[in-house]
């Protein structure tokens, strides 16, 4: 991808004070193309940041640029090429998803026939089929989230802001939504800024993660840096977990047995291939039945919990 050279979002010393609270404090971040995760607890200033980036809320001080346009002065131009999926419910119950998305496409400046085509395409991409002709009032939370996503994508924006898109979804709906976000950032070629208060789910889809807390930047780095510290391979075999652990420890691997699984730690600077080879040879030589072998990334949470280094 031509991607990461472009800067989608850049803020510089961005501060937003409300009469009672400070929502953002001297925030300086940049985000490139692809999927960027914005992580923070509720009230950390995520939604405020999005509103400033959309040019809907003036910053108290500092600057924000979106797709190389100034959020303070070029709000209308930004909103023409950016999509926004709010956190809250925002759908009228008495119209169908098709009608609603067509209308929203027209509000983004698409001519009527183009709006119809794009709405049908977009609803298909987010996975709404026959239901799209029924009134939204009867939809499940998962379907509503899809309609909200569709209206943010219908005008083919260059960048979308997704505010807590997995809110209220069941595990399956969450997986679907995350897969969709990955596709938007990859296959669709639309950059994504996605917020969540759950670090774990973002590591599955993001290229870059920004962590903010109480309006301040805690950390901003690529997902690789977040999770590359250690790599963990977890292994499950039918019988003979202990002999396997002994054997691997014998060749100098860092192993640990946790219940029915054996975990193998590969330090960041080591060659993971060597660990896999050793594991394969050990399983073969001991003639064990391998049930599961998977690579587990270090979780963002773990990195986050470490004292800020």
């Amino acid at each position: 991808m031509t991607a990461s050279a472009i800067t989608c979002i850049a803020t510089e010393g961005l501060t937003k004070r409300f009469p009672r609270v400070t929502a953002l404090e001297d925030l300086t971040v940049t985000a490139g193309a692809g999927v960027t995760g914005l992580v923070g607890a509720n009230g950390a200033g995520k939604s405020t940041l999005i509103k400033i980036l959309l040019g809907l809320l003036p910053a108290t001080s500092g600057r924000a640029r979106v797709l190389d346009m100034d959020a303070a002065t070029q709000g209308a131009e930004i909103r023409r090429v950016v999509g926004y999926m709010p956190e809250h419910d925002c759908l009228p119950p008495d119209v169908s998803a098709t009608e609603f998305v067509v209308h929203m496409a027209q509000m983004s400046g698409l001519p009527r026939t183009a709006a119809r085509e794009r709405a049908a395409d977009t609803l298909r991409h987010v996975g709404l089929d026959e239901e799209r002709y029924r009134p939204i009032g009867g939809y499940s939370t998962g379907m509503r989230q899809k309609v909200k996503l569709a209206q943010a994508l219908v005008h083919d924006p260059r960048l979308v802001f997704l505010d807590e898109p997995t809110n209220g979804l069941d595990p399956r709906g969450r997986d679907e939504m995350l897969a969709l976000i990955r596709r938007i950032g990859g296959e669709f070629g639309i950059s994504v800024l996605v917020t969540s208060h759950l670090l774990g789910e973002l590591e599955r889809v993001c290229d870059h993660v920004v962590v903010i807390d109480a309006g301040r930047l805690l950390r901003s780095s690529s997902i690789g840096e977040f999770t590359q510290a250690t790599q963990i391979i977890s292994v499950e075999v039918e019988d003979g977990l202990q002999p396997l652990a002994d054997r691997l420890a014998g060749v100098g691997e860092a192993v640990a047995v946790q219940g029915r699984t054996l975990t193998l730690e590969v330090p960041a600077d080591a060659d993971p291939g060597r660990a896999y080879d050793a594991l394969r040879d050990a399983v073969c030589d001991l003639n064990l039945n391998l049930i599961r072998l998977e690579q587990r990334r270090g979780h963002i949470e773990d990195v986050f919990k470490e004292p800020a280094a």
């Binding site: 909103r79 926004y84 809250h88 929203m104 509000m107 983004s108 698409l110 005008h155």
Partner: protein, 289 residues
């Protein structure tokens, strides 16, 4: 032998939109047309169509009856200038039924942020809603007037046609439509619940008409005719009628006449200003929440 397969399914994947991206103006127009259609129940459920169509039918009724009278006894039936004043309860019910539909759902279901995250500004949104409601009100009044005029021309009454009267009634209709639309939307926008919006617009109409009648009666019994005429202006329909009298020289439809001069015009402008400022303030608050 198997026939050669002819149909092929292609996964065309995601396609980017390369077509035209129109500006704020077209979004404004699209929103206004969408709202105008909605005011008559078009593009909505069958149930939503009943009320507006029924009211339009009631508005047309006097015109149809008048045409029949003209055809049978060769006499003018209903006049143009007082059509709105006579039919004011119907117009008020139409306003009360449709103004909340235009603004309340977007507030209640929080659709407004979706509009505002697009090139459309808050002022465009309000402008489109006002335009839609004004045009809807105007059509509800102008269609019966036009039917009446067409009937008069076809029946060919003795004497010249009342062309000037027809056009001054249309002129008054424009003012009435804009005034009622801005009042109705301003009142309806203060509650996100449609039912409350309907009730508040109706209550406003009943209140103003009752208050103006009571004051009129009291002042008349005290022998203060001039003050009684001022009291008539509390009712927005008579206020607009008085503007029509002042601007186009039509006969006053309240039978008593209005205060002289252009004061009524100034009042209309003041009411319009208050309603619009109220709307803007209301939406500024809604947009920031």
């Amino acid at each position: 032998m198997m026939p050669e397969p002819t149909g092929v399914i292609h996964d065309i994947g995601y396609r980017h939109y390369e077509g035209a991206r129109l500006g704020r103006g077209s979004a404004f127009a699209a929103l206004a047309v969408h709202s105008l259609r909605g005011a008559f129940g078009l593009g909505r459920t069958a149930r939503a169509k009943i009320m507006p169509l029924l009211l339009v039918a009631i508005m047309l009724l006097p015109a149809v009856v008048s045409i029949a009278i003209m055809a049978l006894v060769k006499q003018q039936g209903m006049g143009y200038h007082n059509y709105a004043s006579i039919m004011q309860p119907v117009l008020a019910i139409f306003l009360a039924a449709q103004a909340p539909y235009l603004v309340a759902p977007d507030l209640r279901f929080r659709v407004l942020p979706l509009y505002l995250s697009r090139p459309l500004a808050m002022i465009d949104y309000l402008g489109a809603k006002l335009a839609a409601m004004s045009v809807a009100m105007f059509l509800v009044l102008a269609v019966p007037l036009t039917l009446l005029f067409a009937g008069e021309l076809l029946v060919d009454l003795p004497g010249p046609p009342h062309t000037a009267e027809y056009f001054s009634a249309l002129g008054g209709g424009v003012i009435l439509a804009v005034l009622l639309a801005s009042l109705g939307l301003a009142l309806a926008s203060f509650t996100p619940r449609r039912g409350l919006g309907v009730a508040s617009v109706i209550a406003f109409y009943l209140f103003t008409s009752v208050v103006s009648v009571v004051f009129f009666g009291v002042f008349m019994s005290l022998g203060r005719d001039a003050a009684a005429k001022w009291a008539m202006l509390i009712n927005p329909f008579f206020l607009v009628d008085s503007v029509q009298v002042a601007l186009f020289g039509t006969a006053p439809s309240n039978g008593e006449g209005y205060p002289p001069g252009l004061w009524p015009c100034l009042f209309v402008l003041m009411v319009l200003a208050v309603a619009t400022v109220g709307l803007v303030l209301r939406y500024r608050k809604a947009a920031s929440s």
